[in-house]
């Protein structure tokens, strides 16, 4: 099916209500009725009796020793209930907490502050205003230290040592990590006709969900039970970590992630504010709400990227790509707080070989500390596949420029061929399935590529700057096989429970959590497809550790690949059991029954059947069941993925650049995605639309910038610019379908594809328009203008 999207007016819905799909298809979201009425339940909507409010005092300096903290004036504020400092937490053994990368992070600074915006003290007061007022009354004396801001100087001899809290540390080096075969790669480079080298920075950006991070902590002193409503993408992982860190028994912790106003990786980590709110509730015996403001969100919570990449690509003169080599300097900020599977300190960056059939590849990544906020894996990045795709897709365009070849043709020539799947790339990945040339061809057709090139030539004649950019990406998502992938030792497998009630309605309990992805709808559709129970009869429960089985949460596009698989498996278990019960009902051997969506019928006698609803009632009734078969109709499973899944796509961007100002207008954007089996095409398209806007934002507008003293220059939406409806075009989507062979329903995940794949297409288009080989994102008018005029560096 082809669904080319033209700009408005949108076509009317394809399916009439009476044809509503019991299973996959375009289904209205079950979540929407509450959201359109303003009846969502976000963390900041929670009001509890006696609830107090917390606020954080943050460091104004990027690097300084704390000489003294005077909290007396704050404490005497009439509405203040508690003032917590690093010293308070030290007494509780909580001044430092582990990060998701096995480093430590200060909850509240005790010795030094290490980035501007770092948490120094926490005030608990009767209301929000009083808490903020009292924060202003705390007097901290700092002794400023030289900061390390430019990662390229972090390893200089004599550079200030940021993490002197770590015994014996004399530098800012975190790790070196390599993938691929260096000797083989070097050998291929030595004999290649053409080698192109390019330095590029994927700048620090921020996921900036519209809802900031926050929580309500409620410690019941009598029951000894902590309930924590939190903006988290991983409630179960958080519960376990709180248990391990704070020594609270895990069964006495309930983490609830209610409706979440966007996550994009920003809400994976545990932030100091959460811990302070918990401590505040323990100290005061009252519930404590803490919700950060926008500046706090942009300045202190998980940023993304900040990869300085030195790329090299080797090819034959006729354009066959032979090898790729990358050296990366990774700026991790003041604490190594990146969130990725333990064995992979650079995430999945080593999929930088992309979608091409090459002979050899090697990368080295060096992580360093700087005096900036911690984080690094966020913003729909699929564990750094974003950086990898940007690198390879820019390098291919640089090569095309060097060879004077058309970038689409160069890609077509080098794409993996369908018969090469499953494909083992040169850095250790096994790509599950793909038909790349078909997808690229489709994108070129939808875009009218040849016509665009003709138009471009004509416009050039008139002095107009039009550019066409192509990118082709392969993602690796759905982490992951537990033998290889864990976060802080927790294997990345996910549980699922399905219970069919006596009347044939169902409840599905899933381990992952939605931040807008529509899980309540798609997961009901997965079960509906397997069992024939209408989706509206299936309640999907998520985001509450007391109500759902354990699992690692929603990020890295893992919900459908991992938890979606679990939902299908658990539904099939129920179906298998329903067959035995149907056999008992019909007094026939189960083998003599065949399944037709929603019922078992007697082979050769299709009029003789039992629906899943009838079977559910019988399972709870008095029917005599075969030996060894328990009553009721339910099942549980834990899904351990055998491999990751590999969604891919071809993107084409058309831009016009104003020759006078350097301003870029994205005129068109064509995206052809292949995410395997499509559960709800409407939701898939929505996910792609959002990711494409992210890509335009990153390519043209977004950067978390710092001055040389480490002052964050992007601490508000006046400075950290996000695209509005005026900066993005009417997206044009199409798709191909190549199911994953190892996934129970063949679905690959789509949440991050567009964010990962689109920035390179936009940058490639701008470079194509201005005839420059490379300029770093964000391509603001100033930067584009400078690039056009041979300048290096640019105003931010």
């Amino acid at each position: 099916m082809t669904t080319v999207e033209e700009s408005a007016p949108a076509p009317e819905p394809a399916a009439a209500p009476e044809e509503r799909p019991i299973g996959y298809g375009r289904l209205r979201r079950k979540e929407d009725p509450r959201f359109v009425r303003g009846k969502g339940h976000y963390v900041d909507d929670i009001q509890l009796p006696g609830m107090l409010h917390g606020a954080v005092l943050r460091s104004p300096l990027a690097h300084a020793r704390i000489v003294s903290i005077d909290t007396s004036a704050a404490e005497s504020h009439p509405k203040v209930k508690a003032v917590i400092t690093g010293a308070t937490l030290e007494g509780l053994g909580l001044a430092w907490m582990p990060t998701l990368s096995m480093d430590t992070q200060a909850v509240l600074a005790t010795d030094k502050v290490r980035f501007q915006g770092q948490e120094v003290a926490f005030v608990v007061a009767e209301d929000h205003y009083a808490a903020r007022d009292a924060v202003e009354l705390i007097d901290v004396e700092y002794e400023p230290l030289d900061p390390v801001i430019d990662a390229r100087h972090a390893l200089d001899p004599g550079a200030p040592v940021i993490r002197d809290d770590q015994e014996g540390r004399t530098d800012n080096h975190i790790f070196d990590w390599e993938a691929g075969d260096k000797a083989a790669t070097d050998a291929v480079f030595a004999r290649a006709d053409v080698v192109v080298t390019q330095d590029m920075l994927y700048p620090r950006v921020h996921p900036a969900p519209l809802e900031t991070c926050g929580c309500v902590a409620d410690m019941d002193p009598v029951e000894g039970k902590l309930t924590l409503w939190e903006t988290t993408q991983a409630p179960h992982a958080h519960r376990t970590l709180y248990a391990m860190v704070a020594g609270l028994p895990e069964h006495k912790i309930r983490v609830v992630s209610p409706d979440i106003g966007g996550g994009f990786g920003n809400k994976v980590g545990i932030y100091p504010g959460y811990v302070c709110a918990v401590v505040g509730s323990i100290l005061t015996g009252k519930p404590v709400k803490w919700v950060e403001d926008r500046s706090e969100n942009l300045m202190s919570t998980s940023f993304a990227r900040d990869y300085h990449m030195h790329g090299e690509i080797a090819a034959t003169r006729d354009g066959r790509i032979l090898a790729v080599r990358v050296d990366v300097l990774a700026d991790h900020g003041a604490f190594n707080g990146t969130a990725q599977p333990t064995k992979y300190p650079a995430g999945f960056f080593h999929i930088f070989t992309g979608s091409y059939d090459i002979e050899a590849a090697h990368c080295k990544v060096t992580g360093v500390y700087t005096n900036k906020a911690p984080g690094g894996v966020a913003y729909a990045c699929s564990f750094r596949v974003t950086e990898a795709v940007y690198l390879i897709e820019r390098m291919v365009d640089c090569l095309a420029d060097e060879l004077g070849e058309d970038p689409a043709e160069l890609r077509m020539k080098n794409l993996l061929r369908p018969e090469q799947f499953p494909y083992h790339n040169k850095t250790g990945w096994e790509y599950d399935s793909g038909d790349y040339p078909t997808t690229l061809r489709k994108a070129l057709d939808v875009a009218g590529y040849q016509e665009l090139r003709r138009e471009q030539a004509e416009r050039r004649e008139r002095g107009e700057l039009m550019g066409v950019g192509v990118s082709f990406f392969t993602e690796t998502v759905g982490a992951g096989p537990r033998a290889h992938m864990d976060i802080l030792g927790l294997g990345m497998a996910d549980g699922c429970e399905l219970r069919i009630h006596p009347t044939g309605k169902a409840v599905l309990r899933i381990s992952v959590q939605s931040q807008g992805q529509g899980h309540e709808t798609t997961f009901a559709q997965i079960v509906a497809e397997e069992l024939g129970i209408p989706p509206e009869d299936i309640e999907v429960v998520h985001g509450d550790t007391d109500q759902t089985p354990f699992g690692l949460g929603t990020y890295g596009s893992r919900s459908t690949p991992v938890s979606g698989a679990a939902a299908a498996v658990v539904a099939r278990k129920v179906r298998d059991k329903s067959r035995i019960i149907a056999g008992a009902m019909l007094e026939i051997a189960p083998d003599d029954l065949e399944w037709e969506k929603g019922r078992w019928l007697v082979k050769g006698d299709p009029g003789n059947a039992r629906t899943i609803q009838e079977i559910a009632l019988a399972a709870h009734g008095v029917l005599e069941l075969p030996e060894g078969v328990e009553g009721h109709l339910e099942a549980t499973t834990v899904y351990n993925p055998p491999n990751l899944t590999y969604p891919y796509g071809a993107y084409i961007c058309v831009v016009d650049v104003d020759p006078g100002t350097g301003a870029v207008k994205v005129r068109r954007f064509v995206a052809v995605d292949d995410c395997g089996t499509r559960i709800n095409p409407t939701i898939i398209e929505g996910q792609v639309h959002g990711g494409l806007a992210d890509g335009v934002g990153m390519a043209l507008m977004e950067i978390i910038a710092f001055d040389e003293d480490g002052n964050c220059l992007s601490g508000s939406f006046m400075d950290y610019l996000l695209p509005t409806a005026l900066e993005v075009p009417a997206w044009e989507l199409d798709h191909t379908v190549t199911p994953s062979p190892h996934h129970p329903i063949g679905a690959k995940g789509i949440g991050e594809s567009a964010t990962v794949g689109s920035p390179a297409a936009v940058v490639n288009a701008v470079m194509d328009a201005i005839g420059v080989r490379h300029a770093d994102m964000p391509l603001t008018p100033g930067r584009v203008w400078q690039a056009m005029h041979g300048g290096v560096g640019a105003p931010q």
Binding site: E5, A8, P9, A10, P13, A15, A16, P17, E19, R20, P21, R26, L27, R28, K30, D32, P33, R34, F35, V36, R37, G38, G40, Y42, D44, D45, A208, P209, L210, E211, I260, G261, G262, F264, D293, R294, S295, Q515, G516, P534, P535, E536, T682, I683, G686, Q687, V688, H689, G690, L692, A693, D694, F717, M718, L722, T724, A725, L726, V728, A730
Partner: protein, 167 residues
Amino acid sequence: MQVTINVNGEDRSADVEARHLLVRFLRDDLGLTGTHWGCDTSNCGTCVVLMDGEPVKSCTVLAAMAAGHEVRTVEGLEGPDGLDPVQQGFIEKHGLQCGFCTPGMMMTARALLDRNPDPSEDEIREAISGQLCRCTGYLNIVRAVQWAAQHPAEAEQAPAQTAGSAA
């Protein structure tokens, strides 16, 4: 200070600090949490409500400034006959994902359609350009507003019955 604001057709009074923002008055004092906030700088528009029919950012209006005015929030969109066409349009066209920007977007859309029942795509984009959405890439919001423009009288049946049915 004592303020009285007509909110969704009802006079609501409270004793507030002079610095109290309208968004906090609505959320904290009246429990109308459908109006959100997402920034400190008047940039995001998740807080948009209608004041005397005009969209305003309620984070940039003091409760005291709204005294004596008529404020309409997302909770006041649904009528006795069902959802406002704008609400139905957002459901029909998948104009929302996380739902955080949605109330503000819908209030702006309502105001737009009240003064311009048949807006062009450009006019819709212009109208919502002071607001951010991080999830949808805006196209389906535009389509949602167009749907509402095309179905002015159809307050439709409540989506409690249509949720989970084919889009």
